[in-house]
């Protein structure tokens, strides 16, 4: 049986100017998911830091979720990974880095490694904020993949927890699937027909997945299906950007060989230029 709820949320805290925003986001998420929060600080514990963190937590305007703070020295990736395992985490929250002077976000090398290796779901926030920005619209992938059903289910769960109201399930159809090369009017007609056929096939596949999802979940969130044509893994990010989605939910990447990193695919595109907050479902 898949676990369907987030019971433990892990967040890494560092004493940067973003500390308050990161902590507040994590606290808020934990409240919304009704989960307990584990704050992991990589580095030595000091009375001053402890005090500062406590002050920030005390400033949190809502009722606090159950939380613990872990102080551990070591390499950030290892510490956080170990924390995720030992705390039996369901969700790891990471912050993205903003490119100097631009509205572009990417995730740093530590977060990227974590994203690859983390055993639980990962939520990448492009701009943690002290005040709440409600999440109302999300985009989820509907790839032909065995994980997809789980991902869509998780998207519905997360959206209803966050109080979001609308979800688009995006079916990416890559050019290779449309095997007809367009040269002239005749091949164009043929390719249009093939595309339409694929579109309908994929749509019915996604609709079948939707029937497996509990009614009360699908009823709470207005949803539609949008097939798009483009490079897998990439176009969905572009789509989320165009549609100004607040959250993008993706399958976790399958393999991570050196090859994949040299020739980026799927999620790598999105990690190097985050269109919005991204939830990666393991």
């Amino acid at each position: 049986m898949h676990k369907k709820e987030y019971n433990t949320v892990v967040v890494g805290v560092a004493f940067s100017p973003n500390l308050q925003a990161n902590a507040f986001e994590a606290l808020r998420m934990s409240v919304l998911f009704n989960a307990s929060l584990v704050m992991v600080h990589v580095g030595e514990k000091s009375a001053e830091k402890e005090k500062k963190l406590e002050k920030i937590i005390a400033d949190f305007p809502e009722a606090l979720p159950p939380y613990t703070v872990l102080w551990k020295a070591g390499h950030p990736v290892e510490v956080l990974l170990n924390a995720c395992v030992s705390e039996n985490a369901d969700l790891l929250i990471l912050g993205a880095i903003q490119r100097e002077g631009l509205l572009k976000y990417y995730i740093g090398s530590v977060a990227r490694k974590l994203t690859r290796k983390c055993p639980c779901d990962v939520l990448l926030l492009i701009k943690p904020a002290v005040e709440r920005i409600p999440c109302s619209y999300a985009v989820v992938n509907g790839l032909a993949d065995e994980k997809t059903e789980e991902t869509i289910l998780r998207a519905f769960y997360v959206l209803s927890s966050l109080g979001a109201t609308r979800l688009t399930i995006v079916e990416e159809i890559s050019e290779e699937d449309v095997a007809v090369k367009v040269d002239d009017d005749r091949s164009l007609r043929k390719s249009t027909i093939v595309k339409e056929r694929i579109r309908l096939r994929e749509k019915s596949r996604v609709e079948r997945i939707l029937t497996h999802i509990p009614k009360q979940m699908t009823a709470a969130v207005q949803h539609d299906i949008q097939p798009i044509f483009g490079r897998r893994g990439y176009s969905i990010g572009h789509f989320a950007r165009v549609k100004r989605a607040d959250l993008l939910v993706m399958n976790a990447p399958q393999a991570n060989s050196l090859w994949d990193r040299i020739f980026p695919h799927d999620i790598e595109y999105i990690l190097s230029d985050l269109p919005t907050d991204v939830l990666i479902v393991r």
């Binding site: 509205l103 492009i126 701009k127 409600p134 009017d185 165009v242 100004r244």
Partner: protein, 730 residues
Amino acid sequence: MAKSSPFKGLRSNIFAGFVVSLIALPLALGLAVASGFPMVAGIVTAVVGGVLVSLFGGSYVTITGPGYGLVVVLLSAVAVLGDGDMHAGYLYALSAVIISGMLLLLFGFLRFGALSDFFPATAIQGMLSAIGVTLLTKQFYVMLGDMKTKGTVLELLAAVPDLVFSLKIAPAGQLYAVGLGVISLLIMLFYSKITNRFFRLIPAPMWVILLALGFDAYFSITGGENPIDKKLLISLPNDMLTSVPTPNFSKWKEPVFWGIVLSITLVSSIESLLSIKAVDKLDPEKRRSNINKDMRALGIATIVSGFLGGMNVGTVISRSSVNVNNQATNRSSNFFHALFLLLFVIVFQDQLGRIPFTSLAAILVYTGYKLTAPAIFVRMYRIGKEQLFIFLTTLIATLLTDLISGILIGLLATFLVHVLLNKAFWLFSRNLLKPNVLMYKENETQSYYVGVIHFCTFLNFYKLKAKLDKIPQTQKVVVDFSLCSFVDHTVQESLHNYEELFMRKGGVVEIVGLDVHETDSSHPFAVRTLRPFQNIRVFGRGKTRRQHQLEALAQEKGWKYEESPKAQKNLLRDHLGYETTSVERVYNQLSSPNKDLSLFDITYSEGVFIAKESVQTTLLRVRLKSPVPVFSFDREMLLEKLSHLAGFHDIDFPEHPDFSDDFYVRGNDPKKVRAFFTPELISFFSAYGFYHIMCNGSELMVRQFLRPASPAEASAMIAFGLALKEKIDG
């Protein structure tokens, strides 16, 4: 669609083929001579091309034969490979032609059809102009009777005054020929200005031939002898159709040979592709050529032509457009053009020997002039100073080096200009390999949405092109550049081609999101860049096509168009769901005479904390006569984003369950809102469910997309606004 029979419209195709052959004959002869090939090579090229490409080609009303651009490359090939010996050089050049034919065939199979799309349009223009300058200069010498020109183009240009003065001491045999040449050039130059119907029955190049033949006939009738020096008359060998030269492949090991093969292939394919594209726009039946299939046919024809002693077979624009103008409907006219050409050569072999080289050269001088006319320089300058710079760089580089180096330098210059314009190398280096185009069919409107991000230049245009090529041209397409920081001239020009192609077939390509980009030119195809966090461009310079269309829309309705109306910072403040937005800019405003309705583009960001790029969209504002309840209406709950904190709730309409299910109506006073939504209004709103409407009590704000509306969509919005106002105000 039934496959059209090749015999359909046979008569008109035979006629078109005949007219084209009249032009093709002098051109074929002239181009062959200018290439350093024997005269007959031009005929072979046109005949082989006409027969084979009409059989295997993928285009419809194109004419194939020897091309202008090749002349320059082939001439240098003959000179370089032959090392001074013209005949040996010719045999070596034939082998280069054959191999380039094989490459073209390979390109066709590898579907490299779009080869010319990888080069910046301006650099290609520069290269073509360089070819024009070369052709013009070399043939100018021939026209003045100097058959032994040597040296680079620049040296030759410098020596033109000497050449003209040397005519003073020229023998009479030469002067007669020069006289014919100069008159021929005048005919070519002023042909288009003459409106006499009978004069225009015969194409200009044929007049040149007739003039030369008439000159000769005058002397043979009066019993005298043609005073033109025999050396200046063209001579066709008697065994020209039976003796076939043997190509000499022995230079294949030398790098210079491969350089020549590459130049020939590059020029031939670029010239053919540009011509095919241009002819597609002329085709009255609006067919789309299969470029790769045509490339394969050109490759096969070139190989055969090379073995028979001919030049590269290419698609040629001027002959093709004459073909279309004479009601050709399919490839058979190309076939008949070849047949007539062959017939002329056999029947009039004797007469052809009475034409002086100077007459043929005049035709090519004119052609060269067309390729490098001052109008091209002016046009480049209008598009932008940087385009003129790229154009001149390529032109001069090509003249000083060779075609391949020239176009590569042009490519580099273009890229450097782009980097300098953006003051950012990272924009290109970081995003070059990323896919940057998204296409989907919008569920609401069934039109295609094509979004482009990062940058879009000649470097990655093929990605956008691949998407556009896959959309049926009867459909509606919106190309959105609002998230794209830089769009270059090549892309805009190509998109303009798509606009025309779609328009011809009943579809529409509309480009949105370019209006806020910066430009320093007033040309609609100028480069446009969106530099982050810089002062927004000074409005008033360089309207985009969309802006022109919006202005026309305003005029049509008797509305007022303002490109940059007064700042209205608080425009959205009191609207439900937009309380925290901050308006960055309002532009392209269309307002009705009484100011009750106005449509405008707007850029706003959704509050300080929202980290996303600001939204560019089009809004319609409708001022109402009397106050109404505050409400919002939409299908997707998008407007709900921020307002659900503010105590508004969904309002149900128990008497209209379908409406309640499909749409979200929100407001702070459900009773009043329910009373306001009369059944009539409900059915009206349902019919236009794709609009999002916010009402603050005194005015309505209507929006369709989270992107700027295309002119057609804007027009529809205005119509909706007018109807809505009438419904509510009564």
